[in-house]
């Protein structure tokens, strides 16, 4: 279903919820590719690296009455850009932390992102762990079970995805949408349109601020 249709549905009936989602993870694990697959259903073998961050949106329908719009912040993976990350995950309602199933070190990096989010981000943030590049299972370096066990322990959603073959990509984002405490957030979502301070990324305040100031 296309984005436009979703938008119209949302206006015609039911509720539109809007969430800010941030993607984190080591360089070259496929963050941008996951977004590209989710938003445009495309895959690019030679996707350029992300510098700073990139911003995209996508809308999905959960059921006839519920539509969820994701504001997606795709971040640069290089360690050096880490200082920019709080700017993007501050006020985020959900996060996808990505690792590459063929790179053992990338899961460690993912774990450290999860820790940082749990410490610094909104306490209600919904976090999903995505083991990307599942199409390259021949070169797998991280067991599904191991990652699954970690995700369960830590309370994360978990998927093994492939941006290349589209396996589990929509499932990942749909599950996140379903896990969001929609009713609780409904009030916030309604308020967002009128308050410019709540839009996008908070650049002014250096400290973590409360999501709900409206």
């Amino acid at each position: 279903m296309s984005t436009t249709n979703n938008r119209q549905n949302a206006h015609a009936s039911g509720k539109l919820y809007q969430f800010k989602l941030v993607l984190l993870g080591e360089s070259a694990v496929g963050k941008s590719s996951l977004v590209l697959r989710f938003v445009k259903d495309q895959f690019d073998d030679y996707r350029e690296s992300t510098i700073g961050a990139a911003f995209l949106t996508q809308t999905i329908s959960l059921d006839d009455n519920t539509t969820v719009k994701f504001e997606i912040w795709d971040t640069a993976g290089q360690e050096r850009y880490k200082s920019l990350a709080p700017m993007y995950y501050r006020n985020a309602n959900c996060a996808v932390v990505v690792y590459d199933i063929t790179q053992a070190s990338s899961l460690d990096k993912a774990k450290s992102w999860v820790k940082e989010l749990q410490r610094q981000a909104d306490p209600n943030i919904v976090i999903a762990l995505a083991g990307n590049k599942s199409d390259l299972s021949a070169r797998r370096a991280i067991d599904s079970e191991e990652a699954q066990a970690y995700a369960t322990d830590t309370g994360l959603l978990f998927f093994e995805t492939s941006a290349k073959t589209a396996v589990n990509v929509n499932e990942l984002f749909t599950s996140i949408a379903k896990k969001m405490p929609l009713e609780q957030l409904a009030a916030n979502s309604r308020g967002r349109g009128s308050s410019s301070k709540q839009r996008g990324v908070d650049l002014t305040s250096p400290t973590s601020s409360n999501n709900c100031s409206c």
Binding site: Q18, S27, A28, D45, Y46, R47, E48, S49, T50, I51, G52, A53, A54, F55, L56, T57, K69, E71, A76, G77, Q78, E79, R80, Y81, S83, L84, M87, L136, S196, K197, R199, G200, V201, L203, T204
Partner: protein, 938 residues
Amino acid sequence: MATFATDKEINASFQQDVHLGVNSFSAVAGIEDRDVVPATATTEIFGRFQALKTLLHPNLCEYVEIVKGKHDRLFVVFEYHMNHLGELYQSSGQVSKLGISMLREWAFQILKALAYLNQNGITHHNLAPHNILYDVEGRIKLADYGLFYMTNGGVDVDFPIGYPHYLPPEAIYRQVNKPEATGKVDVWSLGVILAEIFTGSPFWEGNDKDIEKLFSSLWKLQEEEEHNDDIWEKFFIWELGINEAILEFLQGTDDDDIVDFRKFIRACLKVDVSNRCSPEQLLSHPFFSSSYGHGLSNNYKYWWKKPFLQSQQIDFDEESLFEPVDDQPNKDVLHRMPLSQIYYFWKLAGGDVETELAKRGYLLSTPPIERIPRTVKVQDGKEEGTTEDTAFLFSDTIYTLSLKELRQRLEVATGPNREAFEWDTDYFLLIDEDDMNFLVEEMSDNDNSGSGDEVFGKYLFPDPNNHKVTSSSTNGQTTPPTNNVKLPLMNREKDVGYQFQRVALFSELLRQYPASRDEIIHHAKVDIPPFLRGKIWAAILGVKGDYQALYDSFKKETETTTDRQIDVDVPRCHQYNQLLSSPIGHEKLRRLLKCFIAANANNKLVYWQGLDSLCAPFLTLNFNDEALAFSCLHTFIPKFAQDFFLSDNSPVITEYLAVFRHLLSFHDPELSSHLDRIGYHPELYAIRWFLTLFTHVFPLEKTYHLWDKILVGPPSLPLFIGISILRQLREMLIKSEFNDCDTFSESFPDVDIEKCIQSALSMCKVTPPSVIYRVHEPFATPDTLHNGVPDHHIQRWWEQPIPINDKKTELAPRISLKDLVKLKNHVLVIDIRSEQEFSRGHFPLSVNMDPTQLEQFAHALRLENKKYHVVLGKRGDLGPQFAADLVRANFPRVAVLTGGIDVMRVDPEEGVSVCACRNFTSGSKNGTAAYRKCRICF
């Protein structure tokens, strides 16, 4: 002299009989299992080919270009001569009459060429009489010597390389996956060819089709060799199908005058590789010693090795080299032109190798449906059905490209009735008499002081035509200034006559580099001919000295913690580009980045993602000269991306983006306040713009054009280009809410680079330097400070840099008093102090108003109809906030006077003094709110 001249350019001596030859083949369709990003064989060949372009030897045909056509078919363009040794075979009666001295000369020249190839790590592996060409002077020119090399020893293609008839046993029975062919392979081939020419008889009996017999003979040769010392003496040799005449010659004992020749051929035909000499060794064979005592034949007399590369000393002896020796009135237009240049012009004149060959019916194109493999694998690995499309295999047919049309076009372009191109160099000088031009100011300032970098500050040249253009960048609407360079850039780049003249001009200037640097910059402001872009950029950047030695001096192999990051970024960097996507390209980019890090360890610069993109234009333009690419990058970064790559670059980037935001407010207040309102801040989209100077935003082709101007423009130009991009997308942006901006964060296919640059320049011209002042800019000196500040100078409050967090939150920029004074009658100074303070002293002609009453007085302010609006207050007041209000009310060119009234009192500028008149007029009718205007004139 001639810093960037290559051997090829120095030796360019195009002769009438030289042709551009083309042959064509395809790489293996698909090689499986090449890691995540499959580098196709085609790309590998493309990358490997590049090094062949640098080879230069009097006995080798030059490789000019490789072109990728449809269906991954490759076309190789090279120097070609019509005569080849194969012709001797057709007139066999003549062959044996050739004197030994002729054969000796040929053998020597061929060996010289082979030895040169070996030195460069190349094995010919394809030597045959028909690819041993000779030019009109009888000089040997080997062709097709790069095929084996560029295909990675044949691994990348489905066809065998080399003619079995001329190959030694070890080339046929080599172990699989062990392509260790050496130059000795070619020595065997040479032996076979010379023996054939001498005897007039083919080496092997039977025709070419009888390949199995040939292979079994070669096999036997190899087998027997193990048991026999000199196989040619043995009887069994007569059973291998070698022609009698050949064997009789090889085993002969008489004829003293050919004894050396026979020994030489037998040395070539040693079956055991370890006993066979290399081409280099054979050059000292007794066969040659009598004739070439000094190891030099006559053919080397006029051959110059790059004698003074990178030397800045003028050597007058070499001067004659460049003087045209013969100035015949009717000389060929292509005379003395490097082949690569001829090919470039040939393309501009409409040439295209693929269509050319297709037109002549040489490309057998199979319809796509026919290309679907119809092979069925049956038992035992056997295949049934149509196996292959042979149309894509190699054919050694060489097609020559006709230069007739090019000659005609160039003769017209250089003839007496040639089109006169006006190379107006006033690109930066489009003076609007009714507006400011700070670039003119900057130039005259620098001329007075006589200091500063010679590039910066000279953005202008006298305007010969005194063009007047209308103002731009006032309140949202841009009228791109008319430029008197006749054709749009794209048309100029495709015009063969224009490019011919440009290339000639710049080639000459580059020969005189570095003395000619100013002139190069002068002409580069009009446009840069793409053919010479890499070198012109290097000249503009001021690369000089022994840059190769500099490049070599840095350790590029040391492992660092950044390696992993570089390794994952390099294969993602501009991979649509044939050069950068090739494995060779990956290696080169990796080395360049590592070298940059090694070279800047002391400057604390590190690898940030994006540096790869920034490096890409230099590498693609100087693919065969890594050292030059490196030196360009090395001089480029301090000029245009100073401190961007510090490990903690956030103060630098934050300030840069803050200035960017101010500039947007200054030139397009409506757009700026809109983006501010929806929360779409530069931090969200513009980091990659400036960190990579737009290389991460635009494809390389657009980046080249952008950088052509950035390199010769003022250092602030990138900021203005960023604003031009926003303004080209203005219509879309102004209607967007935050969420709609996602389409914006990708690439900008519709952004017109030429318009973008023009609009950037016109904005740059009217922007006072203090508005774009950055603490972190190269050679920063705030011009609120006077030059040569004495040590005991007490720093005034306004001389301290504005804290970055303030700068970031402010919407409008600051302006210095010095710049304010220059604005003269274009500016409206809005004084926001109290009436009492105003009456005690104020800026002449300023208005005084309560900053909280903007709504009420906006109309009155607009009626003043000024281009600039400067807010004047006192320390710590609401100046910046009021300036932001003005921006939101769409006042153009709003700035806050740095230091407010205090700076006027303490540091008065020439031409303005505090006015203490009480001659106000009130702009307010009802008298409740105050609006006063000073009526004293300057």
